[in-house]
Subunit: 380 residues, 2 copies
């Protein structure tokens, strides 16, 4: 089965009927009896390499593509879409994700709504494999939202109009022409995320400021500043240049030094590499002002929502990020965006071979497709 057929065909080979229905007819029926699918969930998956528009220069690696796996869960004629994205520094790859997914038997669950049980089961298969788990969770949420006829931001009680602006990411490029093109592409965005820690940090900000004297920036140092005095000096320098927050200034192991920087920094310090899952949020509270939640770290939407609620309850700032991903995983994350302070949901814009329609950036703002149930995507 080729990729197009993988996405478009149901497990039984039948196309999904597109039949708009009136709310009244739907509502009166469902008000009387909860309906549960009679069949069993079927998980299928397929590798899909994400091609980057620009070479990525991060503090610790450089690449032109990101390995990914597309996932679907079929149940009774409804398809849930999910995705794993595996940037190499997270330790997962096509082989490890495929191996994990081959061991997942969702057919044992008579009820697709047992989300907590299903996550417990995924944990029992292997302790890590967070992107693989996320791909199952995203497809499951898409399926459940479609069964309920609602997108997840609604199911969580969120107002999509409260979604924040999303940042667009730029990084240093030795090729001045290429760098100029990257900077030019920032135009439609209200806030730009500047990747740092590779040795041209101030040059990059200055090149950007020549084109946009006033546009807000935030900075992701990707653990790139080893010295706490250097990190603090950068925070002060950036605060004078329209920066809103700094992500992961120091290596994640350097918790005490990070706390030292945080106490002195005029800018909020956000945890990224330091933090993966729910129990990490409390640990982060001592040294960081906020957290960056990403579905590929959190094992998907269920735990990401818990993390956002916990961080809020602990008085922390919340940022929502992504890897390079298709619009599938990015739109899934966008469902949570009305809960967060800052979004960095540009992963789909950084690839040249997207295969889903979903999240849009309208006037710099995260815009969730409000009339699509589940995670809000359709294959294109």
């Amino acid at each position: 089965m080729n990729r197009r057929n993988f996405l478009r065909t149901t497990a039984l080979g039948a196309a999904i009927a597109v039949t708009p229905i009136s709310f009244s007819a739907f509502g009166k029926d469902t008000a009387t009896k909860a309906t549960t699918p009679g069949g069993r969930m079927r998980l299928t998956f397929e590798p899909y390499e994400l091609k980057l528009k620009h070479v990525f220069n991060l503090a610790r690696n450089k690449r032109t593509s990101t390995p990914g796996v597309q996932v679907r869960i079929d149940l009774d004629g409804i398809t849930g879409y999910g995705e794993a994205s595996m940037p190499p520094y997270l330790g997962e790859n096509v082989e490890s994700v495929s191996s994990f997914l081959s061991r997942v038997d969702l057919g044992q669950f008579a009820d697709p709504f047992r989300v907590k049980d299903i996550h417990e089961y995924l944990e029992s298969i292997a302790p890590n494999n967070r992107a693989a788990k996320a791909s199952v969770d995203i497809a499951l949420h898409d399926l459940l939202g479609k069964i309920m006829g609602q997108p997840w931001h609604k199911i969580w009680g969120l107002n999509p109009e409260k979604a924040p602006n999303t940042s667009y990411t730029i990084s240093w490029n030795d090729d001045a022409e290429e760098l100029g093109r990257e900077i030019a592409e920032c135009k439609p965005f209200k806030i730009i995320k500047v990747k740092m820690g590779v040795g041209h940090d101030k040059e990059l900000v200055e090149a950007f400021r020549k084109v946009y004297p006033d546009k807000a920036i935030c900075v992701d140092a990707n653990q790139g500043w080893n010295d706490k005095e250097k990190a603090l000096e950068m925070c002060n320098w950036l605060a004078e240049r329209g920066c809103v927050f700094v992500e992961q200034p120091m290596p994640k192991e350097k918790l005490d030094e990070t706390a030292w920087v945080r106490e002195r920094s005029p800018l909020p310090i956000i945890a990224d590499e330091f933090l993966q899952r729910l129990p990490d949020v409390r640990r982060a509270a001592g040294a960081y002002d906020g957290i960056n939640i990403k579905l590929m770290k959190s094992t998907g939407l269920h735990e990401a929502h818990q993390m956002a609620e916990l961080a809020r309850a602990l008085g922390m700032k919340v940022m929502l990020g992504c890897m390079t991903e298709t619009s599938c995983a990015v739109t899934a994350a966008a469902q949570l965006s009305p809960m967060v302070d800052w979004a960095d949901l540009d992963g789909n814009l950084l690839i040249s071979n997207d295969i889903f329609d979903g999240i849009k950036v309208v006037d710099g703002k995260v815009t969730i497709p409000i009339d699509r149930p589940g995670i809000g995507v359709v294959p294109v």
Copy 2:
């Protein structure tokens, strides 16, 4: 309109059609487009006094009935049911709840799914009135669950089979015959909640143990033990008599003394009167092992769910309680029960004039109606 008509008739006077539908027909339609009601929510309410089967002897008051208000939200032919119960010590009454509800205009919300916005709006009306807010929240959740065609335990991803046993409450009665009858009624339950702090604490446990040598008990001291040494002595005495935990041993103001008792007590110490809402959970963490969540304190299901998740994330025990309520509010709370360690959901069993069918206690266990959407009740 009399009470029966209030519960049974829709806002437009039309009966809800009871038409079971197949999942397939439902699912394929909803998988393609999210459906949102076109009309506006309409809130109505009516006082309803809850008559107690037995006189309640608490540490601080004594009564034979509890004032209540029944609430409904109608939208496009679907009805959501809610309820406020106002035990006098919480400071609300029929007048204050009616006055609050008269000021609630849900018609301003085009989308009933804006749960967080609606709660913000309710907060803007008045800072307290927690039972009144809960009644709106419960009716809203009932409505939303019916629109989605699913009960809330499913929407939250919970497995109803994991619901705990529920305790049944007994309290001291000077009338020995009456006390004997209360104790006899404990038979079907696996765990009994003994109300204490009114001066016959040990006598009550001893009377109970004569009938049931082995049945588990838990104790609610209702702030009844003023002295920390006395409280600790009772904890030790109770630990030797099959007690599982002690709720609110000391006055809520005595936080340091409670922490002192907790450090030494062989039994977990649970916060009840100390704690009302989400921000109280973190405060409780320093002096209590767990929290007792009640919808009439938490302003309903939305914040109750957040409180349960937060307590779990902080490593605390979670108990779910209720006031004397009809099966409406008790069944709503039961939707959360698979998340908690202990449930005390007997409020509907303590009244003689219930008007809803919902939660059942089967072999001592909380049993949620799994095939009813929303909060899981129907008027009887």
